[in-house]
C-alpha cells in the first residue's frame, strides 16, 4: 500500500516536471513565431492564442501535482532550529502534532477546492482569454494534487508512528 502511494507521488511529480517543460516549449514556440514574424511577416500565424493562459494553467497543475512528491522528498522548508534540540521523544510528539495540523489544513483545503471545482462545473465557468477553457479542468487537476498532498501527510504520519522517529529528510547541506 505504502509503496503504491510512493509510486503515485513520483508519477505525479514527474508529470509536474513535464508540465514545466511544456510551459517552456510553448513559450519558446511563441518566441520563434515572434522572430519569424519579424523577418517574414504573414508567413506564419503570429501568435499562439492564449499561450499566457495555458502557461498559467500548466503552472498551477505543476505546483499542485508536485506537492506530495516535494513533501516526501523533504523539499518544503521549515524551521528546525528549535525541534532539533529536543529529545527524541519530544521530537516525535511535536512532529506528530505538526503532521496532524497540516493534515487538517490540507483536508480543509481539499474540501473547499472540490467545492470550487464543482461550482465551476455547475456554472460552466470559462477562462477570459481568446480560447475559452472550461475552468473545472485545470481546477480538478489542482484539487487532485491537494488531495494527494493530504494523503502524503497522513502517510508520513503513519511512517512516523511505525518508525518511532521523524522520517522526513532535510536536503543535505551543501
Amino acid at each position: 500500500m505504502g509503496h503504491l502511494f510512493q509510486k503515485l507521488y513520483s508519477i505525479c511529480g514527474a508529470l509536474a516536471g513535464g508540465l514545466i517543460l511544456c510551459i517552456c516549449l510553448l513559450i519558446s514556440a511563441q518566441i520563434v513565431l515572434n522572430g519569424v514574424g519579424r523577418f517574414a511577416p504573414g508567413a506564419f500565424p503570429s501568435t499562439i492564442p492564449s499561450y499566457g493562459d495555458f502557461s498559467g494553467f500548466m503552472l498551477a497543475g505543476a505546483t499542485f501535482l508536485a506537492l506530495a512528491h516535494t513533501l516526501r522528498a523533504g523539499g518544503h522548508i521549515r524551521v528546525n532550529l528549535v525541534t532539533a534540540r529536543m529529545p527524541l521523544r519530544a521530537q516525535v510528539v511535536v512532529e506528530a502534532a505538526v503532521l496532524l495540523i497540516s493534515a487538517a489544513l490540507a483536508g480543509y483545503l481539499t474540501w473547499f477546492m472540490i467545492d470550487l471545482t464543482l461550482e465551476s462545473l455547475h456554472y460552466n465557468d470559462l477562462s477570459t482569454g481568446i480560447v475559452p477553457v472550461p475552468l473545472w479542468i485545470p481546477q480538478s487537476v489542482a484539487t487532485f494534487g491537494m488531495a494527494l498532498f493530504l494523503i502524503a501527510i497522513l502517510h508520513t504520519l503513519a511512517d512516523l508512528v511505525r518508525a518511532g522517529r521523524p522520517v522526513l529528510t532535510t536536503p543535505d547541506e551543501v
Binding site: 511529480g13 514527474a14 509536474a16 516536471g17 514545466i20 517543460l21 510551459i23 517552456c24 510553448l26 513559450i27 519558446s28 518566441i31 515572434n34 522572430g35 519579424r38 499566457g52 493562459d53 502557461s55 498559467g56 494553467f57 503552472l59 498551477a60 505543476a62 505546483t63 499542485f64 508536485a66 506537492l67 512528491h69 516535494t70 522528498a73 523539499g75 518544503h76 522548508i77 521549515r78 524551521v79 528546525n80 532550529l81 528549535v82 525541534t83 511535536v94 512532529e95 502534532a97 505538526v98 495540523i101 497540516s102 489544513l105 480543509y108 483545503l109 474540501w111 473547499f112 477546492m113 467545492d115 470550487l116 485545470p138 481546477q139 489542482a142 536536503p171 543535505d172 547541506e173 551543501v174
Partner: protein, 433 residues
C-alpha cells in the same frame, strides 16, 4: 479586540507555528485562516480555495520555475565551474575575490528576471557550491547572495514596480528607468562592503596563489564564452523585442540546455535530474507564495494593515518624520508579509498622505522597493531566506544573520536616496521631452 491586540495574537501564532517546525507555507496559511475566522466575517473556506486557485495560475509567476530550471541545468553542466574558473584570473587581485561573482552575477541576472526569489535561486544554485568548495566563509557567501538577489526587484524588469505602477497609476516605463541608478548605487554598496571586509581581514578570503599574465587571463576567459552567450541571448531577446521578460525565461532554459550539451559532460539523465529538482524547488516556493497571498487577503479582510497605516496618517507628520515612521512600519510589516502584499494592502491609505506632504510618487515607488528588498531578508517571512534554505538546507535564521549587514546597507541606500533624490529622479527627468 483592538488592532494592536489582534496583531500580537496573530504574530505569536505565526512565530509559535514556525518554531514548532510547521512548514512555512502551512504556517502562513494557518495564520491567515485564524485572522479570517477570528477577526472577520468572511467565509474562510471559500476565500481560501479561491485565493489558492486564483494566485496559482498567474502568468507573471510562470517565469519562476523556468529560471530555477535554468539554474539547475547550469549547476549540472560544466558551465558553472567554467564560469568561476574563467573569472578567477580577473578577480584574483580584487579584495573579496570571487565573492563579487554573487554581487555582479545577481546584478546581471536582475536585468533579466523580475523577482528576487528567481535571482537568488538561479545564481545561488551555482555560486553557493562553487564558493563553498573553494573555501569561502559561509556567512559571506550567504549574505552576499541573499542581499544581492534583492536587486532583482529594483533593476528593471521588476514585478514589484509593475504592481506599484498599476496600483498607483505611475508610468511603469519611468519607474523602470528610475530604478537603474539606485540599483547601481546598491551594487557599489554591496561590492564595497565585501571589499572592506576582505581588506580588514585578509585571512577571511581564500588566497589565489597564482599570478596571471594578461595572456593567461585572455586564455582563461574562453571559458566564459558559454555563459556570456546565455546572458547575451536572454537579455538580447528582450531588448530586440522578441520576448517579454517572462518569455525570456523559457529562452534561457533552451539556451542553457543547448550550451550545456555543447560544452560537454551533460546528459539527458542530468537534464531529467535538473527538471525534477527545479520542480520541487518551484513547488516549494509557489506553495509559500500561495500561503502568503492568502495571509495577505486575510489581512485585507481584517483591515489590520489599513488601520495601522491610517493610524500613522492621523499623526500628521512632516515629510521626514513620515518617511521615518513609514520605514519602521514597512520593516515591521515586511518581517511578516511578503513585499507585494505590503504594497497592495497599504497604498490606498499611504499614497494620499505621501502626496499630501509633497513626496514625488515616482521617488516613493523606488523608496518602497528598497524597503521591500529589506523585507526579503528579514525573518521569519523573507523569500530570499526561504529560497536559500531550499538550496542549502541551512536554517533561515542563520541565513538571516548572515544577511543582516546587507539589511543595514539597504537602509543606508534609503538614507542616500532621501539625501540625494537625484539618484532616483535624474534618469526619468531626461525622458520627458
Amino acid at each position: 479586540m483592538s488592532d494592536p491586540m489582534i496583531a500580537v495574537v496573530l504574530l505569536s501564532l505565526l512565530i509559535g507555528l514556525l518554531a514548532l517546525g510547521v512548514w512555512v507555507a502551512v504556517s502562513l496559511t494557518l495564520v491567515g485562516l485564524a485572522g479570517l475566522v477570528l477577526f472577520s466575517n468572511a467565509p474562510s473556506g471559500l476565500v481560501l480555495a479561491s485565493t489558492f486557485w486564483g494566485h496559482s495560475h498567474s502568468w507573471a509567476l510562470t517565469a519562476l520555475p523556468l529560471f530555477i530550471l535554468m539554474g539547475e541545468i547550469l549547476l549540472r553542466s560544466r558551465m558553472s565551474d567554467d564560469m568561476f574558473t574563467g573569472l578567477v584570473p580577473w578577480l584574483s587581485r580584487a579584495p573579496g575575490r570571487l565573492l563579487h561573482v554573487n554581487v555582479f552575477g545577481c546584478a546581471i541576472f536582475a536585468a533579466v528576471s523580475g523577482s528576487s526569489a528567481a535571482t537568488a535561486a538561479t545564481i545561488g544554485r551555482m555560486s553557493v557550491p562553487e564558493l563553498t568548495r573553494r573555501g569561502y566563509p559561509e556567512n559571506l557567501i550567504l549574505g552576499t547572495l541573499a542581499g544581492s538577489a534583492t536587486l532583482g526587484l529594483l533593476i528593471p524588469p521588476s514585478i514589484i514596480l509593475i504592481v506599484y505602477g498599476v496600483a498607483t497609476e505611475q508610468s511603469i516605463a519611468r519607474l523602470f528607468i528610475a530604478g537603474v541608478l539606485p540599483g547601481i548605487m546598491l551594487i557599489v554598496l554591496f561590492a564595497g562592503y565585501v571589499a572592506v571586509r576582505a581588506w580588514m581581514n585578509p585571512d577571511l578570503i581564500p588566497a589565489i596563489d597564482q599570478s596571471f599574465s594578461f595572456r593567461q587571463k585572455i586564455v582563461a576567459s574562453r571559458r566564459l564564452i558559454p555563459v556570456a552567450l546565455l546572458i547575451g541571448g536572454v537579455i538580447g531577446s528582450i531588448y530586440a523585442g522578441l520576448a517579454s521578460p517572462t518569455d525570456a525565461a523559457a529562452l534561457g532554459v533552451v539556451l542553457a540546455t543547448g550550451l550545456a550539451f555543447a560544452s560537454g559532460s551533460f546528459s539527458w539523465r542530468l537534464f531529467g535530474a535538473a527538471v525534477m529538482s527545479a520542480t520541487r524547488t518551484s513547488c516549494m516556493i509557489a506553495l509559500i507564495l500561495l500561503g502568503a497571498a492568502f495571509l495577505s487577503v486575510s489581512m485585507g479582510f481584517t483591515g489590520l494593515p489599513r488601520n495601522l497605516a491610517a493610524w500613522i496618517s492621523d499623526m500628521n507628520l512632516s515629510a521626514t518624520a513620515l518617511l521615518m515612521a513609514l520605514t519602521v512600519f514597512f520593516v515591521v510589516l515586511g518581517c511578516f508579509l511578503d513585499g507585494i502584499s505590503v504594497i497592495v494592502l497599504t497604498t490606498s491609505i499611504i499614497m494620499p498622505m505621501v502626496s499630501a506632504v509633497g513626496i514625488d510618487p515616482l521617488w516613493f515607488g523606488i523608496y518602497l522597493v528598497i524597503v521591500v528588498e529589506m523585507s526579503q531578508i528579514t525573518p521569519p517571512v523573507g523569500f530570499n531566506l526561504f529560497v536559500i534554505q531550499g538550496l542549502t538546507g541551512i536554517d533561515i535564521l542563520r541565513i538571516a544573520k548572515a544577511a543582516f549587514p546587507f539589511f543595514l546597507l539597504l537602509l543606508l541606500g534609503v538614507v542616500l536616496i532621501w539625501v540625494f533624490p537625484q539618484i532616483v529622479t535624474f534618469l526619468p527627468g531626461l525622458m520627458s521631452g
